[in-house]
Each structure stands twice: as structure tokens, then as C-alpha cells.
């Protein structure tokens, strides 16, 4: 066993453990570091939300864990699945993990399905790869799965191509494909961003249902804090390639400690109260090759002090299971904005 830096004690409930994950992209002229040591763990059956502005590394984290970043990416650190290492284990073992133990679905489902293959064949392929079922039995099982994810007339739909289906239908197909491998963890990378509002809700309901039936764990990557509040047990907030805060969902929405998290919550539309202007966080996310020294959020932070720009603030616990990377966490009042308590149930 590898000795893990002891941020949280590992338990036998632990499914995935990510420690000090770094990703550098070789851009030819320069190497840009987009992940600066991610620590994150997922327990069995748990739903973890991953939030943060665009470009903070949410997708890259999970693509790196599954070895999907391609040759220009250099991945460092440790990631384990059920205690077994995941990084650098070779393509053959990795392709059994992908889809079989950790499945991933993406933002644009129609682009993620092969345009020249029939829906049924694409589900059957996963059944063949992970459960060794072929032929008529595979087709029957695929039909059952498509039925399970709420596709009407599944038998006919199997013979259609992705372009003949709507985005929502295709996301259901992606979910069916993911279920085909009976994974322990489903990483849903903004599964509803490209879909319209009513379909979004349906897909999230579906994900909740299949999770209840299968008991698999889920990572829900989302821009939408409302979605995260409703669906997740625990939430991790990322900024510029680091996890800056994580806590049980209710706690995070009640007592956000990092100024960045507070900023995100303040930018959330108030569902209960009267509509008011959103306060979005001032400034822009810096490019990965242009990060400020010290805390990456300092230039945009209202609570910034001189020492914030000196060193990267360490990750520390402010309460059980509530970790924050802010030098001033605990010294700031917990003054959750009115709407954040409305969001947390």
C-alpha cells in the first residue's frame, strides 16, 4: 500500500481516493499546469458534487483519473479505486475500469454517440465489453436497459441512429450504456447543461432513480449550485485547479467558509424570495499559465489580506468533514447570504 498523506482517514467505505493529483498540458512552447494537487475521495454509494467556474479543472480531474487526456497531458499524484492504483496501470487494465467500474457521461450526449452506429449496437458494445453478453441476449438486455432509462418503444429505438433522437433521449442512451457495465461510480460531467429545463429535471430524476436502484456512487459535475444542493451528499468547490472547500452539502450551503464559495452562492438566483440582481464574482478566472502567487483567488477576493498573496493557503478542517483552503477561514463571520439557506433544503 502507498502511504497516503493523511487529509482524511481512509475507511473501508472508501471507493475512490485521489491524492495530490496534478495535470500538466504540454503546449509545445510552454507547459501549463491545470491541476495543482487535487485531494478528493468518494465513498461507496455517495453523491459528491463538483462545482466551480468554467476552466477550473472539474472535467480534467476525472478525465485524468480515467487516463482519457491523451499524450500531451502529464498526470501526477495518486488515484486509487478500492485500494488499487489507477494511474499508469496500462491500457488493458484501464479499459476494464472504464465503463466497468467507473462510467462517465458527458455534456453533449449527441456528440458522444457514434453517428454511424445504431443506438442498440452502442449499448450492446458495453454489454459485450463488461459482461461478456453477445447476440440476442445482449439485444434483450440492451432493450431492458433502454426501457429502464425511460425510452419508449425501446425495441424500435434500438435500430435508430443518434441524429434521429433528441438530446435528452441520447443522454438516456448514454446512461443506459453506463448502466450496462454495472459500475461502482458514475461520473456525470454536466449531464444536463446542453438540455432544456424540463428535460434537465427529467434526467436528474432518472439519475436519482437509477442510483437508488443500483446503489452506485456518483460524482455530479455542475455549474448549477441548485442542482448540486438537491442531489448531493457532499460538495467540493474547485478554483483554478485546486479544491478550495469541501463539506457535507447542507453544511456548505449553510456555512460556506471560503470567500469563493460565498461568491458562488451569492451569484445564485434566489428561488424562494423576490428576484434580485445576481452578484457575480468580480474579475475573471486567470489562465492556468498566469496564476497569481499565493491564493489564486486573492485578486478577486473581498476579504484578501497581504499574507494571502504570499503562500498558497493550506487545506484545513474548520469542522468535521469541512475542509477549507483559505488563510482567513474561521476568522470571517459566517454570514450566509439569505438565499443560500433557501437553497439548502
Amino acid at each position: 500500500m502507498v502511504a497516503l498523506p493523511d487529509v482524511e482517514p481512509a475507511t473501508d467505505r472508501r471507493l475512490v481516493d485521489i491524492r495530490g493529483l496534478t495535470v500538466d498540458f504540454d503546449m509545445g512552447a510552454r507547459v501549463s499546469r491545470v491541476l495543482h494537487g487535487i485531494d478528493l475521495s468518494i465513498d461507496k454509494g455517495e453523491v459528491v458534487g463538483l462545482v466551480g467556474e468554467s476552466g477550473c479543472g472539474k472535467s480534467v480531474t476525472w478525465l485524468a483519473v480515467l487516463g482519457l487526456l491523451g499524450p500531451r497531458a502529464h498526470v501526477g499524484g495518486i488515484a486509487t479505486l478500492g485500494g488499487e492504483p489507477l494511474l499508469g496501470i496500462g491500457d488493458e487494465r484501464l479499459s476494464r475500469v472504464r465503463g466497468g467500474r467507473i462510467a462517465m457521461i458527458f455534456q453533449d450526449p449527441t456528440a458522444c454517440l457514434n453517428p454511424v452506429k445504431r443506438i442498440g449496437a452502442q449499448v450492446c458494445e458495453a454489454l459485450h465489453l463488461h459482461r461478456g453478453i453477445v447476440g440476442e441476449r445482449a439485444r434483450a438486455e440492451a432493450r431492458r436497459l433502454l426501457d429502464r432509462v425511460g425510452i419508449a418503444a425501446a425495441a424500435q429505438r434500438m435500430n435508430e441512429y443518434p441524429h434521429q433522437m433528441s438530446g435528452g433521449m441520447n443522454q438516456r442512451v448514454m446512461i443506459a450504456t453506463a448502466l450496462a457495465g454495472e459500475p461502482d461510480l458514475l461520473v456525470a460531467d454536466e449531464p444536463t447543461t446542453a438540455l432544456d429545463a424540463t428535460i434537465q429535471a427529467q434526467i436528474l430524476d432518472l439519475l436519482r432513480e437509477v442510483r437508488r436502484d443500483t446503489g452506485m456512487a456518483m460524482v455530479l459535475i455542475s455549474h448549477d449550485l441548485g442542482v448540486v444542493a438537491e442531489n448531493c451528499d457532499r460538495v467540493a468547490v474547485m478554483y483554478c485547479g485546486r479544491v478550495v472547500e469541501q463539506a457535507p452539502a447542507e453544511r456548505l450551503f449553510e456555512k460556506p467558509s471560503h470567500p469563493y464559495t460565498r461568491g458562488l452562492l451569492a451569484a445564485l438566483p434566489d428561488l424562494a424570495g423576490p428576484t434580485r440582481r445576481l452578484e457575480s464574482i468580480p474579475g475573471n478566472v486567470p489562465e492556468p499559465w498566469n496564476l497569481p502567487t499565493g491564493c489564486a483567488f486573492a485578486p478577486r477576493c473581498g476579504a484578501c489580506r497581504d499574507f494571502c498573496t504570499g503562500t498558497v493557503p493550506p487545506y484545513r478542517a474548520v469542522a468535521a468533514g469541512h475542509l477549507v483552503a483559505c488563510a482567513r477561514a474561521g476568522f470571517l463571520h459566517h454570514a450566509p447570504s439569505a438565499q443560500s439557506s433557501a437553497v439548502a433544503r
Partner: protein, 312 residues
């Protein structure tokens, strides 16, 4: 489906009619066949008689109408040189041309497609760079230059192969290689960029994410998609099987259709030239049609007749 075919058919006929018309007028306006075919000292009465017997004394529009009616009767005219039916003359030459273009076509595919795929899979490697350099060279060096270089090297210097003529298969080697090299370069370039484009698509990453091993991702997911643009260029090359060897046949004095076309133009042998061009136009149209059908077969999104769309 019927509607689709009807539209395609009509468009094909229009294309052919356009080519034929264009050829007809350009040829007639660019010189008097009588003066070229008869000797310069021929008496004016002989020239007049020649014109009369070929109908060249009639107004242009009348000649054009007669020509068109004759085509629909299956009569493509006779050579002004030796009086034989133009179609027979051309058909006699087709096998010789196919003897060059078919092996060259095979060569293009066998080299071009794998080279393009390999280059894309090993992007920025030595092989990739080699393929890029070769395909730029193959693209930009005219085939008569390449042909002459090959002749200098293998016929003149090394004396391994004949430099021209068509007595046995050895004579075909240099022209086939000349034709094949340029085509392979083009196909390699197309295949490479098609493959690179496809490998960057989300469904490739999604296929990997669902556990498909890399070789299967390449063979079963990427290649069928990359075939779509590649088929276009290959289909276009099928269209050039008959007349694509004009330059190479001339360089190697190969007695094919291409050379017949060059000689025919020089002599203003109207019927022969028009017959060759008609044949070429028909090949082009046929290959375009084949490409469309192949598209539909490979890519369900392009099944124009299935969706009832009226073409692009």
C-alpha cells in the same frame, strides 16, 4: 427514393449536356478542321468539298442541333482523319488506358489510405512528417516532371525499364508509378486530416470512456467516420480512370485515350475529341453518383432519400 433518383438523373443529364455543349463550341471556334486536316496546298475546291461533306458549311446552331440529335440516336460521328466511327476508335483505346489507371488506382489506395491513417495515429512522429512532406511533394510536383525524372533515373541511367511505348508489362511500370504516386499523396493527405478530425470528436473519447480498447476505437469507431470524406476523393479518382492519364500517356507515348485526346485536339478531329469528352463527363457523373450512394451507405445522416430531402 424515386424522387431522389429522378432529381439526380436529371442533374446528371444536364451536367453531361453542358460539357458536350462547351466542348462543341470551343472546338469549332478555335480553328477550322478543314485547314488542319487537308494539306496546306489543297485547292480551295477540295477544302470546300471537305467542309460540305462534314457539314461544316452549315450555320453553327444547325451543326449543334444535328450533333445533339445524333447523340440521342447513338451516333457519335466519324473521325475526320480515317472515317471510322469515333466511338469505335475511342473504345479501342480504353483497355490501354485502364491498364495504366487501374493498377495506379490500386497503388493509390494501398499506399495512400494506410499512410494517412498511420500518420494521423502517430501525429507529429517521424512517419507523420514523412507523409506530410511526401504528400506536399506529390501534390506540387507536376506529373510530367515526375515522369521525366523517373525516366531519367530508371530508363536512361539505370537502364532497368523502357522509357516509353507499350509492348509489354514492363512498359507500364513507370507510367503506373508516376500516376500512382501523385494520387497516393492526395489520398494520404485527405485520409490523415479526416482521421485527425474524427479522433478529436467527443464520441471517440466517449468510446474510450465506456471501456472500448484503443485498437477497436480506431477500427470500429474512428475509421468508419473518417471514411466519409476520404470516399469523396477516392470517388473523384474513379471518375478520372478514363481520362486522368492524359499527361502521363503523352510523356510515356502510351497509346491510350488520353493521348488520343491530345492528338485529336491538335488535329481538330472533332468527333473523336467530343466522343472522349462525352465519355469523361459520363464517368464523372457516374462516380459522383456512386459517391453519393456510398455516403448514404456509410453515414446514416446523409441518407438523402430516406429523409425525403431533395439533395443538398
Amino acid at each position: 427514393m424515386m424522387r431522389y433518383l429522378a432529381i439526380r438523373g436529371l442533374r446528371a443529364i444536364l451536367t453531361i449536356a453542358f460539357v458536350v455543349t462547351f466542348a462543341f463550341f470551343i472546338l469549332r471556334l478555335s480553328g477550322d478542321p478543314a485547314l488542319l486536316i487537308l494539306s496546306p496546298e489543297a485547292p480551295p475546291e477540295a477544302v470546300e468539298a471537305f467542309r460540305k461533306s462534314w457539314g461544316l458549311d452549315r450555320p453553327l446552331w444547325e451543326q449543334y442541333l444535328r450533333y445533339f440529335v445524333a447523340i440521342f440516336e447513338g451516333n457519335l460521328g466519324r473521325s475526320m482523319r480515317d472515317g471510322r466511327p469515333a466511338l469505335d476508335l475511342v473504345m479501342d483505346r480504353v483497355p490501354a488506358t485502364l491498364m495504366l489507371t487501374l493498377p495506379a488506382f490500386a497503388l493509390k489506395l494501398l499506399i495512400g489510405v494506410p499512410a494517412g491513417i498511420f500518420a494521423a495515429l502517430r501525429r507529429n512522429s517521424f512517419v507523420d512528417r514523412l507523409v506530410i512532406v511526401c504528400s506536399v511533394a506529390g501534390h506540387s510536383v507536376p506529373s510530367f516532371v515526375l515522369g521525366l525524372v523517373l525516366v531519367l533515373l530508371f530508363a536512361v541511367n539505370l537502364n532497368w525499364l523502357p522509357s516509353g511505348g507499350a509492348d509489354n508489362w514492363k512498359h507500364a511500370i513507370l507510367p503506373v508509378v508516376t500516376l500512382g504516386t501523385a494520387g497516393a499523396a492526395i489520398i494520404a493527405r485527405f485520409t490523415r486530416s479526416a482521421m485527425l478530425e474524427v479522433l478529436g470528436q467527443p464520441y471517440v473519447r466517449a468510446a474510450l470512456a465506456k471501456g472500448v480498447p484503443w485498437p477497436s476505437v480506431v477500427w470500429r469507431h474512428a475509421l468508419p467516420n473518417a471514411a466519409i470524406p476520404t470516399v469523396t476523393i477516392i470517388g473523384f479518382m474513379v471518375g478520372t480512370l478514363i481520362a486522368g492519364a492524359v499527361v502521363v500517356e503523352s510523356v510515356f507515348s502510351w497509346p491510350g485515350v488520353g493521348r488520343m485526346l491530345v492528338v485529336g485536339v491538335a488535329n481538330r478531329d472533332l468527333a473523336v475529341v467530343q466522343c472522349v469528352l462525352l465519355l469523361v463527363a459520363m464517368c464523372m457523373v457516374a462516380s459522383n453518383f456512386t459517391v453519393d450512394l456510398l455516403y448514404g451507405w456509410i453515414d446514416p445522416r446523409l441518407r438523402a432519400w430516406a429523409t425525403g430531402a431533395s439533395g443538398h
